[in-house]
Amino acid sequence: MTISTNVGDIDRRLLMDRSVSGRKAFTLPESDVPSQDLPDSSFLRDDVELPEVSQLEVIRYFSVLSQLNFSIDTNFYPLGSCTMKYNPKINDELSNLPGLADIHPLQPDDTVQGAIRLLKDLQDDLGEITGLPGVSLAPLAGAQGEYAGLLIARAYHEAKNDSKRTVAIVPDSAHGTNPASAAMAGLEVVTVRSDDQGNVDVDNLRELANENTAVFMLTIPSTLGLFEPNILEITKIVHDSGGLVYADGANLNALLGLVKLGDLGVDICHSNLHKTFSTPHGGGGPGSGPVMVTDELAKFLPKPVAIKTDDGYAMGTPEMSVGAINGFHGSFSIAARAYAYIKALGLEGLQSVSENAIISANYIQAKLRDKYNLAADRYCMHETVLSATKQKKRGVAGLDIAKRLLDFGIHAPTMYFPLIVDEALMVEPTESESKETLDHFIAVMRQIDDEIDASPELILEAPHDLPVTRLDEATAARKPVLRWSAE
């Protein structure tokens, strides 16, 4: 099977179909120790059927495949809620320095003072940015940060012997990980409505918050890109009910230096280092989802946390820690990248990040609101949620618009999320894209709207020039083929 691209036809066969007996891409050194007896052959297996290809073929295969991707390095990627910003190359480089990449997680603390110092310093900076000084960098992604946060909330109530608090209140606009994490934490998920402005329906919240409330999970800014105007009232309602406030900080890119979550009454939050703090998404991870809490809750943090000792640094376990949520210390080399990012920007740079992220999103919103409906017709924070309902009536769905954007080298916005917005197209430009790029996006979005009437098939059959057209996902799920097999 071949496709035509800008480097000519491309062969997409899998590695096992390229495998030729006897080829190799690598050799191991000869053993330099006296030969040892092998175990009984009943323990031993036959060959592992891994591909047999040359080293050039390895490089060429993966290099060519890489070119089939959109990425930040090659495309504008206004994927809402995902904060696809520039991933500075220096951060990749520094996090891979020998002395960082080749240290073992179980080395004695005194042999890894630099690494622990980095973690401690990053903890402090994240605490300062969020106003929540207790920090653990253990969580391996946002969802694990949420889960860690919920474990902390549960531990807090348990420590007070308040065992009936088994409910998590979650807005209907929340990201799927919120209810999923709550369920993992054994919490019953109760949904609070959004009002017609996209805000939390405060009255509804007041009805729901009670002696069973363990935690209220709020995304700030919300998944509609809005800052909750009633935030102080909300945190008060929850606190008054005896519950804790958890902030999903996936959208922290809007808030750096503009407001501290801790000042608003938030007790716990997580942050995705792979969003706000620019660590690369890697096509779906690795990430890092530090959890930040108030001083009072710090003793419950998952282990380990980096601590300053009299004569240096150490990895420690908080007094009443909720335990280990993964193998070692979290995503160290992701943390190192985030650290480099914070140090490179500094206080004023971080403020500038959020200021520019907000201005860019509002600019797009202002330039498109005559053509596209808005999920909420007010100023947004770092992202704007468009609704393609007008376009839908004219025969073209949000999905189609998203696919058509690909033809222009622009990645699709986040589609059909949040669930409460019909035909949602969530656009997050980030501060790292230039006004010129925003203007190009705006022009393309307007052109697509024009195409609906002029040449709808251009949209309905999009994308046109990519390695594949739209895929049959239904059959994929009905008859799953999940691996190569000899046919």
Binding site: P39, L68, E128, E146, L226, K260
Partner: protein, 454 residues
């Protein structure tokens, strides 16, 4: 009202990561229809806007490099002339240049999760290759595209076993790495899961177990009788969950040969830097029958409107973004890029390489074990008991492993892990292909000197 750090004006700091200039900002604000940024922040309680922040000023790239240079220099590692015998879940292996080279491709590194398959065939095809590699290595029918790390993969496997069997008790072999039950506890404590310890020679297990969780090679480096234990589990209506060392699979029988239900592993040994513990990737494979209970992202093959093969995320209705609180897991951002490293590693080593590698590790560890075993006061447990081991082995030392390690450190040797909590004066020593004979001999000599003087 605003604090001194306020930006009531519209001048932001000009930074290499932020393209907008003052005049562009001015122009955009004009289009938006506000005078200043603060006009957009109306929803933020004014008394909390623009708080004072204690953060250092920004650094130039050159200064940042200097900062990192000092941090790295404060760590001891192979690159600063140390030799190390630590394993216990993270392993030093040579990483081929192909892995680093492909890992530099920005198109892989800076892409998002492939929600738009037309624009992500690279990531998707690699993920499909990854699933294939994991199946080939483990001998299992299906695999997902990766979990956070080994222990979380194991924990999710036990939770999955509970869902599949509709039972709530999980048995874990007493010889497993303590990190496995520890993570499982954190993952399951509010889901009513009980954890019981099973001895490796048990012939009887509770009849309400969801699964037996077996680590093999176990924490002490020894191969467990997975076949017998799996049969025992199945005889009692439980699943068998086996946590492997993937390097060992170059040599030892694959769990798939023993009818195991779920296999998990720490993928780090397959081409991933130790990096002080992460990011790594959890490997997760199971029988096809259980596919819809599998956590994590799965990539499937399909066709486009022109009938060309393509790849896409599939079975997404298991996932949190669709099924929310009823999802098979909360996992969202996972470890695709580490999966790429594993895939390139497997493609590079290939059929012969993985075999040669396992053999080389075996040879070196056994050489080290037999040399240490000759020393006065040191005994290698597995050699005494006739256990079959891989990568690592327990040394019973004449005194505590930490005191010995302190002396070793003076000789620029990072000794094995102190496991006195599990074995008296025990040191878990790991040897891979990255240790030369000279390194091993140096270690043995140092142990003998330290042993003699203690």
């Amino acid at each position: 009202m605003a604090s001194p750090t306020s930006s009531g004006t519209n001048t932001s700091v000009n930074h290499p990561y932020i393209p907008s200039t003052d005049s562009e900002r001015e122009e955009m604000l004009g289009v938006i229809g506000v005078d200043s940024l603060d006009g957009l922040l109306g929803d933020i309680p004014v008394e909390h806007r623009h708080p004072a922040l204690k953060l250092a000023p920004g650094l130039s790239e050159q200064e940042l490099s200097t900062v990192f240079g000092s941090i790295a220099a404060e760590n001891a590692s192979a690159s600063s002339g140390y030799i190390s015998f630590l394993g216990a879940g993270a392993y030093s292996h040579y990483i081929p240049s192909t892995v680093r080279s492909i890992l530099q491709r920005g198109e892989f590194v800076t892409a998002y999760t492939p929600y738009q398959p037309e624009a992500a065939q690279g990531t998707l095809q690699v993920g499909f290759e990854f699933q294939t590699v994991i199946c080939q290595l483990t001998g299992m029918e299906v695999a997902n595209a990766g979990m956070y790390d080994g222990p979380t993969a194991f924990a999710e496997a036990c939770l999955m076993a509970a869902r599949v069997t509709k039972r709530t008790k999980v048995g874990i072999l007493s010889t497993a790495d303590g990190r496995l039950p520890e993570t499982l506890v954190a993952y399951s404590k509010h889901q009513g899961i009980d954890i019981v310890e099973i001895e490796p020679d048990a012939t009887d297990i509770p009849d309400d177990l969801a699964c037996i969780g077996i680590q093999s090679p176990n924490f002490f480096g020894e191969i467990e009788d997975v076949e017998r234990l799996t049969k025992l589990a199945h005889d009692n209506g439980a699943l068998s969950v086996v946590h492997v060392n993937p390097t060992a699979l170059g040599m030892f029988k694959a769990p798939g040969e023993f009818d195991v239900d779920i296999v998990t592993a720490e993928g780090q040994p397959l081409g991933v830097p130790m990096a002080f513990g992460g990011p790594y990737v959890g490997l997760f494979a199971c029988k096809k029958a259980h596919i819809r209970q599998m956590p994590g992202r799965i990539i499937g093959r399909t066709t486009d409107t022109k009938d060309r093969t393509g790849y896409a995320l599939t079975l997404q209705t298991r996932e949190q973004h669709i099924r929310r609180e009823r999802a098979t897991s909360n996992i969202c951002t996972s470890t695709q890029l580490i999966g790429l490293m594993v895939t390139v590693y497997a493609a590079t080593l290939g059929k012969q390489g993985i075999k040669d590698l396992a053999n080389l590790c075996y040879q070196k560890a056994h050489y080290a074990a037999s040399e240490i075993n000759k020393l006065n006061g040191f005994t290698v447990d597995a050699l005494a008991t006739g256990g079959t081991f891989f990568h690592e082995f327990v040394v019973s030392c004449p005194s505590s492993a930490s005191s010995i390690n302190a002396d070793l450190l003076d000789k620029k040797i990072i000794g094995g892990l102190d496991i006195s909590d599990r074995s008296e004066n025990g040191m878990l020593v790991c040897v891979t292909e990255t240790s030369s004979k000279a390194d091993i001999d140096k270690f043995v000599k140092a142990l003998s000197e330290i042993g003699a003087s203690s």
